[in-house]
Symmetry: C2
Subunit: 360 residues, 2 copies
Amino acid sequence: MVAMTTSFSLAVVAGDGIGPEVTSQALKVLDVVAPAHGISFSTTDYDLGARRYHATGETLPDSVLEEIRGHDAILLGAVGDPSVPSGVLERGLLLKLRFALDHYVNLRPSKLYPGVTTPLGDNITGRGDIDFVVVREGTEGPYVGNGGAIRVGTPHELATEVSINTAFGVERVVRDAFARAQARPRKKLTLVHKNNVLVHAGHLWTRTVDAVATEFPDVTVDYLHVDAATIFLVTDPSRFDVIVTDNLFGDILTDLAAAITGGIGLAASGNVNPDRTSPSMFEPVHGSAPDIAGQSKADPTAAILSGGMLLEHLGFPEAAAQITAAVEADITGRSSAPRSTEEVGEAIASLVSDRLSAGG
Amino acid sequence: MVAMTTSFSLAVVAGDGIGPEVTSQALKVLDVVAPAHGISFSTTDYDLGARRYHATGETLPDSVLEEIRGHDAILLGAVGDPSVPSGVLERGLLLKLRFALDHYVNLRPSKLYPGVTTPLGDNITGRGDIDFVVVREGTEGPYVGNGGAIRVGTPHELATEVSINTAFGVERVVRDAFARAQARPRKKLTLVHKNNVLVHAGHLWTRTVDAVATEFPDVTVDYLHVDAATIFLVTDPSRFDVIVTDNLFGDILTDLAAAITGGIGLAASGNVNPDRTSPSMFEPVHGSAPDIAGQSKADPTAAILSGGMLLEHLGFPEAAAQITAAVEADITGRSSAPRSTEEVGEAIASLVSDRLSAGG
Ligand SMILES: CC(C)[C@H](C(=O)O)[C@@H](O)C(=O)O
Ligand SMILES: CC(C)[C@H](C(=O)O)[C@@H](O)C(=O)O
């Protein structure tokens, strides 16, 4: 019997700080799971981030962006370093990728695995049932970079930031979120915004959710102001199933969501283009953590789970589930003894291969 | 001996839902503490909120605003009702007051009192030492109402929200926050923003903090992105002393801060004009909670503490401290048995008067 292998090209942007360390563990786990599903990966490394910026002044040259665009998916570690002025790599590299590749669904699942330490106390309702996903809009809102400043550095400086929201942009992410809610057992969608203050954008979001809801009659719809949503995330997080929200609110809510489910060391994300007109990008929610870089202290779990999301996006939900199950088994069995980045990666990789041999 | 009495005029906007219930308890406590400090209050009630809006279509007529402006301070309960379209009372009444009266310091203290239930678990570092204040800018940012929409209701709708930030506006609130940090034992100031994405506004805030810091050499300065700040609020809240932040980030952080310190039933706030060119306004952070209105279930503690902040602002820090101490005693002694709004108000009022007679 001749097994067919589907080959996928991955653009790998390992980035700065702990980025390369966690990315290599994610690739290791992908390589373990891939053959069992008839997949192989070819990778191209892109040297982007603080080092390149310091050496050449470049963040993401257009030619590199076009090369990356030719891949099937992108795996990103983390970018950023205190030596680079704030905003340069974020706007010039990370957000440029998200915007240029039209990653309008920024997907961030949060699940509290058994055995994981959470800052929430035992008195929290349904603490054990925290399992939701934030569908964060990725190409609009205050992230568009549509602001400016005049008279900079004088007492008459004026700086603006403009949040841009279009019916087109809001509707496509809302529709995606409804479809995800529909596919989940609880079928519940919560819109988070601040429509009592940001009335123009807020009413567009609210009206869009109301309109799209008619196409998904079995999805329950809820609305929360962003400030109230942060309260519920710490007092009643199991009320959430799918949250759909704006780019900035999503940024804030997902860090808080990560914090209550074991920290950003465990939080994975996908910058997804559901139309598949360009490669989607998968990355841990955490940053480059320069303070612990090169010390093999970083937890690669979030990067590994991001690799799982990549597999799911490419059409291999079973392979993705094997990674998630291995991570869950590893997390649940964790002792308090510190392990190196490689040890965690190795442990998860071997849990994956145990599963593969047991299964087949 | 003839005691001198200073008389202050209060504009009282009890508002909607539980607003009137909690406000009357706050006034009761103010009336108990006032005579001992040679203060008396005259109050004018302003019928503003959902009822008036439905009856007359008015939110805050200019003539009423001008009358309110003539008072020494404003005590506000809560405004808002689901029967009023989202944004109408917020923009037309609450934010109109804050903006028209130039309440540029929105002051929100958070303290975890002993005995108060918090959603945070025992594993949180310094959980017992949570005691910080958020200095939220109150007259700029995305709250200015400077946005709009075109082609509303069509597939080509475009909605914008513009965040306005001026050197003048940022500097005055930053200076106020530094002065508060300087006066506190720990002397620490944390700027919260998102200067890696909202680069224009973010850099104005960052540069302003750096510049004003030179005038306060004994204040330690820290910076956090807003997403990271939400993580620390649940994993290491005792790291915060004074937080200075933008109007929208302050809205979000203070609800979360309230949640971790016992809930919005305890969170007080002041909308302060430190230049005293117009009356400052004191209000609980919570909303009108129409679901429990009229049932005497609302906790008036936040409203009572807001009354304490009002006294502090008018120049009576000892009177304010007596209220805070009475609240602390009441909270610490609370059993789980439910009490009515009046019972809580009565208990705190009598703890205040015990203190006054003990003190002489
Ligand atoms: C690094 C930064 C630009 C980014 C964001 O704000 O989206 C990060 O916080 C994230 O959540 O992925
Ligand atoms: C009611 C609303 C306009 C208000 C705000 O966003 O400021 C409230 O949430 C608050 O925090 O006082």
